[in-house]
């Protein structure tokens, strides 16, 4: 199934990227630290990689619908809602009071 234009994922707006990058530089990130200390990566490269990862994955998961095959078949929601209401209504109905015979 072809995806709609809105479903394609781009890495993100430049302002978002800059904001996340600024926060990582200020507060630090454990994965950036590992990339630098254990894998000998340049600090600036590590920050940029983690920023792209965080923004890219977040947008990938946040975009809806994530799985178009899970979309509700047409009319299913109304049918289920009606079925549930009908049963609840039947359950709530009180039994008729017996009339006292004088």
């Amino acid at each position: 199934m072809a995806l709609k234009k809105s479903q394609y994922i781009f890495i993100g707006k430049l302002s978002d990227i800059k904001q996340v990058e600024k926060k990582i530089r200020e507060k630090g990130d454990p994965v950036v630290q590992r990339l630098v200390e254990q894998h000998g990566m340049d600090y600036n490269e590590a920050v940029k990689l983690v920023v792209r990862f965080q923004i890219g994955i977040e947008k990938a998961l946040r975009t809806k619908p994530l799985f178009p095959e899970l979309e509700m078949p047409e009319g299913q929601a109304q049918l289920r809602a009606k079925a549930v209401d009908k049963r609840n209504h039947a359950r709530r109905k009180s039994t008729p009071h017996k009339q006292m015979v004088k």
Partner: protein, 237 residues
């Protein structure tokens, strides 16, 4: 944890990344960049050491949890939890009916794993036949299916006791959204346990709990937003 655990988690992360790439959720360029670097290994290492890794703006976090295989042994499992899902789904106060074969090894591991996957979203498990009521089991199942918001069925080892298919039929009549976990025995690759009448329903085909719960954890929020929440909204209206 051993280096093998790190490589297991690195492979799981790589597989998740590949899924996102194949669904065109991340661009080819980003996929190549992330998969070719040491990034996944560094995240796996962090998950082994600390158990979780949260992004700087707290939009999502990775968590390492222990899950149970069918033989009762534990395996490391990584899940991604989105902040938006964790704030929205618990507000729905959902209840899920779970239907499966009542065998000790299935009951123990399946319920354990489901509880771990559903817990962050506040979804309550409902299982038939647990109350010591005198009413027939089928009535209890009908009552629980009626009050559930959705259902999950597992057809593992149900060839000789196909009760789960009766429950699937009841859910269909009650218009209850459901997922079928369709176990495929690797020893019998040609054996298709699903009755043909049930073709076309949402099935999660699996050969082990790792593959099942990876797919379930990834698809559950979408399933709730697209199939379960619209019904809840209509009922409230």
């Amino acid at each position: 944890m051993s280096p093998s655990s790190i490589s297991v988690i690195t492979n799981d992360l790589a597989r998740a990344l590949l899924e996102l790439h194949n669904f065109q959720r991340i661009s080819r360029r980003l996929y190549d960049e992330l998969s070719q670097s040491h990034l996944l290994y560094a995240i796996a290492d962090e998950l082994i050491q600390k158990g979780e890794y949260e992004t700087i703006d707290r939009a999502f976090r990775f968590e390492r949890i222990a899950m149970k295989a069918i033989d009762g042994s534990e395996f490391p499992f990584v899940r991604i939890l989105l902040k938006s899902d964790l704030s929205q789904i618990p507000k729905l106060h959902l209840k899920v009916f779970v239907g499966h074969r009542f065998l000790d090894h299935i009951t123990q591991s399946l319920r354990f794993n489901l509880a771990r996957i559903l817990d962050p979203y506040g979804i309550k498990l409902m299982i038939a036949g647990q109350d010591a009521a005198s009413e027939p089991l089928l009535s209890d199942i009908e009552k629980k299916l009626s009050s559930a918001d959705f259902a999950i069925f597992d057809n593992r080892e149900t060839e000789t006791k196909p009760n789960v298919y009766i429950e699937i039929g009841m859910s269909f009549i009650l218009k209850l959204p459901f997922m079928v976990c369709d176990y495929r025995d690797p020893q019998r690759p040609d054996f298709d346990p699903i009755p043909t009448d049930l073709g076309g329903f949402l099935t999660l085909r699996y050969t082990d709990y790792k593959s099942l719960f990876t797919e379930l954890a990834l698809k559950l929020p979408s399933f709730i937003y697209q199939r379960v929440r619209p019904i809840k909204r209509l009922r409230r209206a």
